[in-house]
């Protein structure tokens, strides 16, 4: 057993363990942290496969961005763990049964009979001058340009979705409108001079701002 193989089993074991912890931890913050662990160890697996780019992207995007966001959300929401876990025991037997059966079946299919090492010649390791990123890029922009473009559209839809579902303008919040601010002219927009009859006591002239919402002076 070479060192690579040893590393593979280590990281695979960590991934499995972390994934199990994700769904069994009581505290959601812990669960998220275990998920981060699972991601990192799978990134390591990827790197073992010489897919450095994917491994790094997994760390950057999922661990760096997505999971941090997740953590924030979980910590900000006051998740009631008791209600979440209320049905756990009740559904455990059937859930476990399904999981076991599924695992068995998948093992049957993906198991050594079909995917054993003897079935496949071991891949030739790429030389040090081969850039995984470049290879991916070449494929992505030629052969796979079609799904790539569609993926771009999916992201666009995701942006629209996020905005549509979350953006609200609350009537009681004050907003600034930079466009309006920029367009303000020196003259009547900024100062309005109001003529008033002079009173006996000397009172300074009243100045008013352009609009109540725009405190732009």
């Amino acid at each position: 057993m070479g060192f690579e193989k040893f590393l593979f089993y280590v990281f695979a074991a960590i991934t499995l363990f972390a994934a199990g912890m994700v769904i069994t931890r009581r505290n959601p913050v812990h669960a998220v942290l275990y998920l981060v662990l699972a991601f990192i160890s799978s990134a390591a697996l990827w790197i073992l496969l010489e897919a450095e780019f994917l491994g790094i992207v997994l760390v950057l995007v999922y661990v760096g961005a997505v999971m941090v966001l997740f953590l924030f959300v979980v910590m900000m929401l006051d998740v009631d763990i008791a209600t979440l876990r209320a049905g756990f025991i009740r559904y455990l037997p059937i859930g476990a049964l399904i999981a076991v059966v599924l695992a068995l079946e998948i093992f049957l299919i993906v198991g050594p009979a079909n995917f054993g090492l003897q079935q496949f010649p071991s891949p030739v390791p790429a030389g040090p001058d081969v850039s995984n990123t470049e290879e991916l890029g070449l494929l992505l922009y030629t052969l796979y340009v079609y799904p790539f473009e569609i993926a771009a559209v999916i992201l666009l839809v995701a942006i629209v979705a996020a905005i549509r579902l979350t953006l609200r303008r609350r009537p009681d919040t004050k907003y600034m409108d930079p466009a309006k601010q920029v367009r303000v002219k020196k003259g009547p927009d900024r100062i309005r001079i109001v003529k008033m009859p002079s009173e006996s006591a000397a009172v300074p002239a009243v100045a008013a701002s352009a609009a109540p919402q725009e405190s732009t002076e």
């Binding site: 299919i109 993906v110 052969l143 079609y146 799904p147 999916i154 839809v157 629209v160 979705a161």
Partner: protein, 484 residues
């Protein structure tokens, strides 16, 4: 691979390219105009869809691929896309007033509908597991958002969430299936897979299991039992305009994709997947017929109705020959027209400017709105499969194909369940014609709604006089799948 980029090679995808560009242009325009311009954006969306359809009609429908072989255009895809575009057009046209009435007139609506439509058009042209997956995700994502479009009502938000979560699970299964198939067949390309499967005894079971996972993902989209559970809740919770979309278009696209997958790469395994599809079809027919019995909400009822209709359509898939697919296409076509008509009525169910959705609200419609009641009755009778209306012919051709291929049990089961289903359709007719009048609905000002209803009713009533063009269109389109 690294050749010059040639636009002419991408011409088969011209309608989709146009639709994508138009959607993005409308998105930008909408972002600038804001929600005041929803109506304008809707009209522009209608024009874009119409132009897309024109481009599609103008194109040659012979089989052609784009570079990379992930996108295929043939007459099967052509007909399905035309149906999709027609459905989109009807939905957008009927929604304009609805959005306004429900105060959700946001410009994102037509844009999202167009993106969903784009996804569906790409789905029916998929010739690779990858393009299948991304196209499916594109339409799903747009549909999730649309389901939750009325985000301020709990129902709509719940519908969106449920659809999203379950949809994600089904996507996961789909992906897992794809990876299994890739692992065993060595390619994601449909033609390559078909080639690989010519000698498949060794990998029969693994491929079949992979196919099951893929089938589950697709069955979820056509809401075949037991992957249908989201359908009633989402149909009921989503804004009615969105429900109309759900009932009309994605079903057709997903069914076409299912057919393309089964008859393309996995044609050689027909006896194997036939049994799985049989299971789905039988379960769908039974659940669709029985579960709808006690429903009071008409949108929920239509959900079960669509489940049972998909069950019937699947019988044609099981037959697994040219005629079978032709009968499915015919069935889908008729199903779309009928459903569009029924939803035109549901959209017009408003009282005191509030949408009502219970079947009891239709009481006495025959007295307050005789024409609408008559048209609705014709559509419901047609859905129940009463001759000589169009719906009867849809079922008839399916059953004839099934009997021809020796699937007697399926045909008998289909007839029996349609008898059960007839009960709940006829109950609505009874409520409309014989129950004490409820308060009359608000006057229906939607011209497009009335037009859709009129066309749909006319179609089901006069189909018998001129069935041949429609039948031959459907059957001709199915031939494309069997030319190798």
């Amino acid at each position: 691979m690294q050749g010059e980029f040639e636009f002419s090679a991408w011409v088969p995808a011209l309608p989709e390219i146009f639709l994508a560009l138009a959607s993005m242009a409308l998105l930008v325009a909408g972002a600038f105009i804001g929600n005041k311009g929803t109506r304008v954006v809707c009209y522009a969306a209608l024009w874009s869809i119409a132009v897309t359809a024109l481009i599609l009609i103008g194109r040659d429908w012979g089989r052609s691929l784009v570079p990379g072989g992930m996108f295929v255009m043939d007459s099967f895809a052509g007909l399905t896309k035309l149906m999709i575009l027609a459905g989109l057009f009807a939905v957008v046209a009927m929604s304009i007033r609805y959005l306004h009435q429900e105060q959700i007139n946001r410009f994102e609506f037509p844009v999202l509908v167009m993106f969903a439509g784009l996804g569906m058009m790409l789905m029916v042209s998929a010739n690779d597991m990858l393009s299948l997956y991304v196209a499916l995700e594109l339409q799903s994502l747009a549909l999730y958002v649309l389901a939750a479009f009325h985000r301020d009502t709990a129902y709509s938000a719940e519908a969106g969430i449920k659809y999203f979560v379950l949809g994600a699970i089904s996507s996961g299964m789909l992906l897992f299936g794809i990876s299994l198939i890739y692992g065993f067949a060595g390619s994601t390309n449909f033609d390559m897979i078909a080639h690989r499967l010519e000698d498949m005894e060794a990998i029969r079971l693994p491929i079949l299991v992979g196919l099951v996972f893929v089938l589950v993902g697709l069955a979820f989209k056509i809401s075949a039992v037991p992957f249908h559970m989201w359908t009633p809740d989402v149909y009921q919770g989503a804004p009615t305009a969105v429900t109309t979309l759900f009932a009309l278009v994605p079903k057709v696209a997903a069914m076409a994709l299912l057919i393309r997958v089964l008859f393309g790469p996995f044609a050689a395994m027909a006896p194997d997947w036939g049994q799985i599809v049989t299971l789905l079809a039988v379960a769908s027919m039974i659940v669709g017929a029985f579960a709808a019995l006690g429903q009071e909400n008409i949108k929920r009822l239509m959900a079960f109705s669509s489940i049972s209709h998909m069950g019937y359509a699947l019988i044609g898939v099981i037959v697994a020959d040219e005629g079978g697919v032709g009968s499915v296409m015919l069935y889908l076509l008729i199903y779309m027209v009928m459903t569009a008509g029924v939803f035109a009525v549901i959209l017009s169910m408003r009282r005191d400017n509030l949408a009502v959705e219970s079947i009891g609200d239709l009481a006495g419609l025959a007295r307050t709105r005789p024409f609408v009641a008559f048209a609705m009755a014709a559509l419901l009778f047609s859905m129940a499969g009463v001759p000589p209306l169009a719906g009867f012919f849809g079922k008839f051709f399916i059953f004839v194909e099934a009997v021809d291929a020796g699937y007697y049990v399926l045909a008998v089961l289909g007839v029996l369940t349609s008898v059960v289903a007839a009960y709940y359709y006829l109950r609505i007719v009874k409520v409309m014609f014989f129950d004490e009048s409820a308060e009359p609905f608000d006057p229906n000002k939607s011209l497009s709604g009335r037009a859709v209803l009129f066309v749909a009713a006319l179609f089901v009533l006069t189909f018998i006089a001129w069935p041949q063009p429609v039948i031959s269109i459907a059957y001709d389109a199915s031939k494309a799948l069997f030319i190798q």
